[in-house]
Symmetry: C2
Amino acid sequence: MPHRQLAFPQSECADCPIRHRAVCARCETDELEQLEAIKYYRNYEAGQTVVWAGDSMDFVASVVRGVASLTQTMEDGRRQMVGLLLPSDFLGRPSREKAPYDVIATTDLQLCCFRRAPFQNMIDTTPHISQRLLEMTLDELDAAREWMLLLGRKTAREKIASFLAIIARRDAQVQQTIAQGEVGFDLPLTREAMADYLGLTLETVSRQMSSLKRDGVISLEGKRRILVPDFDVLLDETGDDSDGGVLA
Amino acid sequence: MPHRQLAFPQSECADCPIRHRAVCARCETDELEQLEAIKYYRNYEAGQTVVWAGDSMDFVASVVRGVASLTQTMEDGRRQMVGLLLPSDFLGRPSREKAPYDVIATTDLQLCCFRRAPFQNMIDTTPHISQRLLEMTLDELDAAREWMLLLGRKTAREKIASFLAIIARRDAQVQQTIAQGEVGFDLPLTREAMADYLGLTLETVSRQMSSLKRDGVISLEGKRRILVPDFDVLLDETGDDSDGGVLA
DNA sequence: ACCCCGGCTTGATCCACGTCAAGGCACGGA
DNA sequence: TCCGTGCCTTGACGTGGATCAAGCCGGGGT
């Protein structure tokens, strides 16, 4: 099973009011207006911390532009990324005040925020919102569990290939051309962030990227732009069930 | 943060009708009666498969007795456990027909099942049930993410110690004596299942158990019963934040 | 033009864990 | 009683990825 799809293709919802539908797919006009009334924007630069683990968060948000990561850190400094938020993903948990992990902007980032209390109100009074949130949380849980398989059992090369496939599949433009085989996209993470994502060191990430390049599976344009001549070849490297179901 | 607590201490709800409260903490009598009307029991022996990945599940359930695991398997046979269900935990996802992973009884197991369709009805007509399910799913997500840190960054010894601490903390009887330091409990998993849980081989599990025994952190009574002379010493081995918050 | 610095690559070496293999122990059935 | 079988332990050895270390490259500031 591939990484969960976008709640909505990015092309359909370029700005925030529509993006609310990531929260509530069936919202009617008046509900969208309620959301409109309690929303505001926040912007962060690459590398900035949005919230620290343990801090209380007075908002929930939906990612408009950029990428944020959820990261756990052990006392001795070992770090593991436990969530990656791309545009249209949802950040924060209604009815839970404290953030359980650091939230870090890995690229420049724009959030569309809703203040907690009124948002909580909407949930309590609009039943299908909590159903929608349940759906989204189940998607996150599926993604987390696929990630556990990656962390526990895949080799470094498989981890890198899986990561590239995930990023490619979540890129709206790539989505449309993926069937033709050749695709290109930008990495939204540094090698170090990739290492934190994949449970590796940055040296191993770098070596495996070089190895995939040597073997012709990918090529690089600069450090961040990836070209994949044949997406199926990349999928073969992931170790995943290769039912060929690119759009499954 | 420790592994999520039981929805309710096991001692409070020894049989199924009460255990429904794991699904719905605020259910009133008439709602419990509705659940009562659509419930039935299933029993499995240790090692039996409850559902295969990809099968459609016509029920959701709550674990009454025993332990079930959610396991992903790659084509070449590598396996990773992605969920562990103990008594009072919930199995299945309303509004999702297909099971995404194998569900296996790791001990003798009793489930209290609810047929899908009527259960789905209750969700749609009783708003606070879907809110309760959201809470439970968020707990599962937190557990999954803590597990990701374990899989990605902990050493074999830390993994074993963390696992023992998780099992101990979820054991109701242990809960009550944990403050005194010395606790004992039974492992509900074979060494092989522990290996699948922890992203290790069974040999490494065995060696690390022996090592913890040699170092006096634990002692064994038979293969499955664990005695921990000082729980804080075990916690020191987990690599976790040692804020001493046993009951946090 | 120069240097600096952050992000990245590459090489040499080490070691934790996987792999392969040989038993040990407890239980159940003939 | 003996043997078979499932589960576990232990040892010897190999290796994938971590660690340590030395640069490279490209962009921005002075």
